[in-house]
Symmetry: C3
Subunit: 266 residues, 3 copies
């Protein structure tokens, strides 16, 4: 029994977290299934990856029963702590999702709590609905939102991250859009579906290889336009331009036609 | 005669700058008193620290008469410049305030100019009222907002910081909330008090040690989720989870009760 | 025939891109002329530099015909790739503009596409009108917005940069102001002119040397208030304060008069 549904529509892949018993928590099994979907998306060159949640929930975040079980056993001195290993593995998973080469969209149509909110923040674009509920509940449980902090800061800035993490405040979809946690707020299911369809159409016009290079560069330019960044950027630019996508894109522009990647049905 | 009033309410500490003659400026004496309050807050483990200003002012920033007196004396060649030493000390003070382990709230209910605006930006949460007035007046005096720039950028981003610092524009509480300089705008005293009370209640539900770890991690993740950050985060997470707060927090969640730190009256 | 008009008004310089045939593209010739204007602005100590576009366009960005011509010739193995050299040179140009010591204002009163949008993001302040149109069209041409990414991230944050770059979404002036791409949205020409005049008046009250120091420090504090930054800031602060601007500014403040730089007609 899979915890994840996969749906393909033209060049676009959607994965839907579906583990009602654990409220779509990021259990080890769930993470393994998302990872497999990421690998598949990368191998088959999907143009985008959309992440949604079934059962009226996006994701409840960490699997608390598993943490509680881990607490019952203390590692012997000198032994690795399984809770620390588990948290490090979660951090490496978020980093892989954040670096996924295709554009990613999170459709938050229910609760996104703790690591579930972190999951949304790893996406390039976030859509929130009237059913969305976000909260960084970690500190009310006595633990820090440790592995997701980098993605919260990248999306929200230090300011909102500090406030939300230190107060555990709950916010709805409308407030999420107001503070930039969501890019779009949708009042109805129709609006949500139309917003997603429009984004997929826009992404379909962009070259997949150029989008992958762009995602990498946006994260590489964190220290500003240093000489090393400028050189990296020039190499990446020339490589894309001289590759099949750049040649086709520039030719299509001059010939006033759509480039070949935009012909794919979406 | 103290330049600072201290008020305690349950686990929450409030300090009120009260130096009418210098408009609550960050004079050496004022900084020493705030530092003493920070030390006390840390030693006694307050759950939060609120900073306010008396006399209808938040803080006028640098003590200009002291700068003027310093200008009257030029250091001999090879001697340390007292103005430079004084500015470095101010920078170290802002860094201490910014790194204070407990959540900090600035209630800006009057003018917050130059270093006074920097003081507010070092807080985790800023409340602005209809009496709030902000301005980076430094460059109109021929000097840069040097030591506060990092906190302005962390709160406002580079964009607003550049604009406000290079124009000296004055903005009110409503505009401050619109550009993210304030998290909350309050039209009336009642609204201000209710907003603060609600924040303190939320903070009271969060574990103090987890909040301290969270503040540190949010600042440590500036370079993104590097392998070193992921390791640091995993160590901090496991240490909080295996400590008394994590054990209590997870147990309370599973037993559907409030954790012991949330029982403290606030 | 120049591709650039220069207009001086008191201490303020305006350059207007005027190359109708290439839609004010950042051709090698255009970049050379902007660079010459930057050098002149620096040498003559203008208080501000405003960048506008003629012909109802801000700038179309990269010169696509020149890229297409470059594509027709492949460099021999071991030879430098002229397309890469050209892109590196563009990156170095954007870095020079971003680091220009005087405050810069972009008045976007038409299309600002790709590198043209990057040009606007290098400015300290952006004014957008009802005719403004922004788009990161690069990935729809098969290439990444490589050299402008650092300036997009500095202005828009990672979140909006990812979305706009990966979708190629077109946005108007009102949306640009809503997401922080523009600081001001102006509905009419009168409003645009009044906004610009008000900004120039504010900048005129700020000391030029202090503004230059401020621009440098805002970019130097990217890693936060490290000990090295605090030292750099203290040195810069003391140097400005002991220089002619600081002495004049503090004296003027205490004597309740305008400082001498503010007397210049603007």
């Amino acid at each position: 029994m899979s915890l994840l549904r996969r749906d393909q529509s033209g060049p676009h892949l959607t994965i839907t977290l579906d583990d009602p018993q654990r409220r779509n928590a990021l259990s080890a099994d769930m993470v393994a299934e998302i990872d497999a979907a990421l690998d598949d998306s990368r191998a088959r060159g999907f143009a985008s990856l959309t992440i949604a949640g079934a059962n009226g929930i996006f994701s409840a975040g960490a699997d608390l029963k598993s943490l509680s079980a881990g607490l019952a056993q203390s590692p012997a001195s000198g032994e690795a702590d399984p809770l620390r290993d588990q948290n490090r593995a979660a951090g490496q998973f978020f980093a892989r999702l954040n670096a996924h080469p295709a554009p990613t969209i999170a459709v938050v149509d229910g609760a996104a709590v703790g690591g579930g909110m972190g999951l949304a923040c790893c996406a390039d674009i976030v859509i929130a609905t009237q059913r969305a509920r976000f909260a960084l509940a970690e500190t009310s449980l006595g633990i820090p939102p440790a592995q997701i902090a980098p993605y919260l800061v990248a999306r929200l800035g230090e300011r909102h991250t500090r406030r939300l993490a230190l107060t555990g405040a709950r916010i709805d979809g409308r407030e999420a859009a107001a503070i930039g946690l969501a890019d779009f707020y949708c009042d109805t299911d129709d609006e949500r579906d139309a917003t997603l369809a429009s984004l997929l159409k826009q992404i379909g016009r962009c070259a997949p290889g150029a989008n992958a290079a762009t995602k990498r560069l946006i994260q590489a330019c964190r220290d500003g336009a240093t000489p090393a960044y400028i050189e990296d950027a020039a190499r990446s630019f020339a490589s894309c331009l001289r590759g099949p996508e750049g040649r086709e894109g520039v030719a299509a522009f001059i010939e006033k036609r759509a480039p070949n990647w935009a012909e794919r049905k979406s």
